[in-house]
């Protein structure tokens, strides 16, 4: 059999995956379950089959759904295969074949897109939105005007984080406008509801389009806002995406002088901050200036939190978290800092009983090191 005749259509993959297999070396799920369908290369094969043949099976749902969306594969791929985009399309296809279970439908359709309902349901947490005016003035001279994107989780579950972020922005001279945004849309895409996500994206884009800069303190929101151009395929979204910044990046560029932290700290880089926004080094640098900083081994490797992953794939989530916790313990730090509420929740449960605390960058910089409630 010649080389020529050995090439057939069956061997071709979407977006020119060369099947080199380098992604197997960086995928957190493959690391725990070294079987091809848990690898990016395998998932691309499955996604191609799904998108071409239109038949979905529970197996496909399980394998494709177990992707953390940590973006490590795309970063390692020498061929530049846009794995995230392909898997998003596959998730959409799966959604049309497998309707969501009731509990998912409830929070995805009836809770997440409706800030009012979230605030009502979580009013006992004293959501940030209820404690804020629509505009905040700078402390001292007005140097910037920014719009703050108040993400769902920080709004209702970690309002202190949002308040700390806003306080920091005021500190560096920002007039901060806090428009009534809705969910950024990321969870909906993760569960294959692209159209609903687009509705939310258009709404948010209309609200934020006139902003000079858009700052957020949730790494996932930030990364997803920056991917609006791909979601909406509009030039307006492209212009908008350039204005979005993570708060760590903004504060570093604004010249914030971090106060002394007074204990050994390390930093876990959320996937959506490091690979999602290319901001891992910048934010690490900001924290490094704040105190006795020790770098975290494998800082950029996923913690296994991935939004609601801990409930969808508890076993995998736990195993991936275990590795992260071992790395954290190895640093000897008493405090680990991060920039994403999903990571916060995941790290907190992993570090329970170790005496090591977790906090959000904004809280640490603001000098408030109380444990999260």
């Amino acid at each position: 059999m010649t080389l020529k005749t050995s090439l057939t259509r069956e061997n071709s993959s979407p977006s020119e995956c060369a099947r080199c297999g380098l992604c197997l070396g960086v995928c957190p799920t493959y690391r725990e379950l070294p079987r091809e369908p848990f690898s990016p290369r395998g998932r691309l094969t499955l996604a191609a089959a799904l998108l071409e043949s239109q038949t979905a099976t529970p197996g496909l749902l399980r394998y494709l759904g177990s992707c953390l969306d940590c973006l490590a594969c795309a970063a390692a791929c020498p061929s530049g295969v846009p794995t995230a985009e392909i898997l998003d399309r596959a998730r959409e296809k799966l959604r049309s074949c497998f309707p969501l279970p009731f509990y998912h439908r409830f929070w995805l359709h009836h809770l997440l897109p409706w800030p009012g309902r979230q605030i009502w349901l979580f009013s006992w947490r004293r959501p940030a939105r209820l404690r804020l005016p629509s505009v905040l003035q700078p402390r001292g001279k007005r140097r910037y005007s920014v719009h703050f994107f108040l993400g769902c989780v920080n709004n209702v579950w970690f309002p202190e984080v949002a308040l700390a972020s806003l306080s920091l922005l005021q500190e560096v001279g920002c007039e901060v406008i806090i428009p009534p945004v809705r969910c950024c849309g990321k969870p909906l895409v993760f569960y294959g509801e692209l159209e609903k996500a687009r509705e939310l994206a258009r709404y948010n884009l209309d609200l934020l389009y006139e902003a000079e800069q858009v700052v957020t303190d949730c790494a996932t929101c930030g990364s997803f806002l920056k991917s609006y151009p791909r979601l909406l395929e509009s030039r307006r979204a492209g212009d908008f995406a350039l204005k979005v910044k993570d708060i760590g990046v903004f504060l570093l560029e604004a010249g914030l002088i971090p106060g002394g932290v007074g204990e050994r700290v390390t930093y876990h880089i959320p996937c959506h901050l490091g690979r999602g926004q290319g901001a891992g080094a910048a934010v690490t640098e900001l924290l490094r200036r704040a105190g006795e900083f020790v770098p975290l081994p494998e800082a950029e490797v996923c913690c296994g939190g991935a939004g609601s992953y801990r409930w969808s794939y508890p076993e995998l989530s736990r195993k991936i978290l275990k590795r992260k916790v071992e790395n954290i313990r190895r640093t000897g730090a008493s405090l680990v800092v991060t920039s994403c509420p999903a990571c916060l929740l995941q790290l907190r449960r992993g570090l329970k009983g170790t005496g090591i605390r977790v906090s959000h960058l904004s809280l640490v910089l603001r000098g408030r090191l109380q444990p999260l409630k």
Binding site: M1, T2, L3, K4, S6, L7, T8, R9, E10, N11, S12, E16, A18, R19, C20, G21, L22, C23, L24, G25, V26, P34, R35, E36, P37, G42, T45, L46, A49, T57, G59, L60, Y63, A76, P78, S79, G80
Partner: protein, 454 residues
């Protein structure tokens, strides 16, 4: 199927269509048959029972690690059972006194590197796929890597193999000592056998002490001839770098377009050299080599002694694959090895082949041992173009053989290079090989259709 599940446990067998579809390929272009099933044994006993079952049922078996081979060695050509070792991935022992390690075959090579280096030890074979590939796969293909000029290849580090033969017999081959002459060296026979003689359940590997220092030099030359002379001079003057990587003009241009490192445009060849050893020796070697290169008319010489600066220099080498992949969808990397002094000839020949067949080509690779990787940039879906590529590759093989080299330095024959094996090996040698295969595997159960037709 039920029998497999009984032996290994239900969770260790893949039978669904989607699962099986993921095991019909590896990293080569060789298309494969969907397997009958995939089984992930947990230990040697399960492996033995699975092979016994396969023999009893007359079912073919294809062993597999991570599936990163470039010659189709892990691709099923017939309906077969894929025996995947990725879940036998424990490092069982790292012996600091005796400088040995005992591992299961599914250990990822990169993970093994980290573990031994953490203990101040060194396992030199470093194929480019180290972040994903497995030690079992490395032994099956006698994997090479970038450090072979100084440290040799996987074969030089295989001391012993616990193997399971077709039929299910488990046998301990080789031993734990560096030196032994006690009958034929069967562990070395299995090394590079590409899954056709037996499978591995345990490997005893040799380790070295970790070199205390490393330094990197990047040198640019006008022509490949200059680079080849430099390689010869460096070795001739008594230096033995750990690595001497070569890139020709096409490669340099591609890399600069993708991720500029500021190399001057006149550069037609680049050597990336790494020396390792005691700090004083490394410093002295660096200086000596740099001076030597300057004396040979290198257009540019950059040195880096600290790890961060060295990483910067190595960026160019790491950018090669992505840079080439941006140009065309398919990067067909060949593996022809020639005596090192023939480097300029092969580089020129590859360029001429590209012109003759209308294909984008170039050459990079391990200059120290002459193991070069000519590449053909093409589109696997373009049948016409691939026909031309096939002819070009065939001609390349003839040229490499004429220059006194071989058809595969480290990727192996697998399925993709079978047509060339007969050109490389005399008929008598092939007959001996077939005899050995029949001796180990009379029913041709293990990885049938690979290496040679029986």
């Amino acid at each position: 199927m039920k029998e497999l599940e009984r032996i290994c446990g239900r969770g260790r067998v893949f039978t669904s269509a989607e699962e099986l579809s993921c095991y019909s390929y590896d990293a080569s272009l060789v298309p494969g048959h969907i397997p009958l099933a995939v089984v992930f044994p947990a230990n040697a006993e399960q492996v033995s029972r699975v092979l016994a079952l396969a023999a009893a049922e007359g079912v073919k078996v294809v062993p597999r690690g991570a599936g990163t081979g470039l010659a189709g060695g892990a691709v099923p050509l017939l309906p077969s059972l894929v025996l995947c070792f990725t879940e036998m991935n424990r490092i069982l022992e790292i012996d600091l006194h005796n400088l040995t390690a005992v591992v299961e075959p599914g250990v990822v090579t990169g993970v093994f590197h980290e573990e031994v280096e953490r203990r101040g030890l060194f396992y030199p074979p470093d194929p480019a796929s180290a972040p994903s590939c497995t030690l079992g796969g490395n032994v099956a293909t006698n994997a090479g890597g970038l450090r072979a000029v100084k440290y040799g290849v996987t074969r030089n580090y295989v001391l012993g193999i616990e193997a399971v033969l077709p039929g299910g017999t488990t046998v301990n081959l080789g031993g734990r000592t560096l030196k032994e002459v006690a009958g034929y060296n069967l562990a070395q026979l299995l090394t590079g056998s590409e899954g056709t003689l037996g499978v591995f359940t345990r490997l005893t590997l040799r380790l070295l002490p970790l070199p205390r220092a490393r330094a990197t030099i990047l040198a640019g030359f006008k022509e490949p001839e200059n680079a080849a002379v430099a390689v010869a001079e460096i070795l001739g003057r008594g230096f033995l770098p750990a690595m001497m990587e070569f890139m020709d003009r096409s490669t340099v241009l591609a890399v600069e377009a993708y991720s500029p490192t500021g190399l001057p445009r006149e550069i037609g060849a680049v050597l990336l050299i790494e020396v390792d050893g005691a700090p004083e020796a490394v410093a002295s070697d660096m200086e000596g080599i740099a001076r030597l290169l300057g004396g040979l008319g290198a257009l540019e010489v950059r040195q880096a002694a600290d790890p961060a600066a060295a990483e910067e220099l190595k960026k160019a080498r790491r950018a090669v694959l992505p840079a080439l992949a941006r140009l065309r969808p398919t990067v067909l990397l060949e593996d022809t090895t020639v005596p090192p002094h023939k480097l300029p000839e092969i580089v020129k020949a590859v360029r001429l082949l590209g012109e003759k067949y209308g294909i984008m080509t170039g050459t990079m690779g391990h200059a120290g041992e002459g193991n070069l990787h000519p590449y053909f940039l093409c589109n696997a879906r373009d049948e016409e173009e691939m026909g031309r590529v096939e002819e070009a590759v065939s001609e390349l093989m003839s040229i490499a053989l004429e220059l006194g080299g071989t058809v595969s330095g480290e990727h192996g024959i697998g399925y993709a290079k079978m047509p060339f094996l007969a050109r490389r090996q005399p008929a008598e040698a092939l007959e001996l090989m077939k005899g050995i295969k029949r001796c180990f595997d009379p029913e041709n159960i293990l990885n049938p259709g690979k290496l040679f037709a029986l």
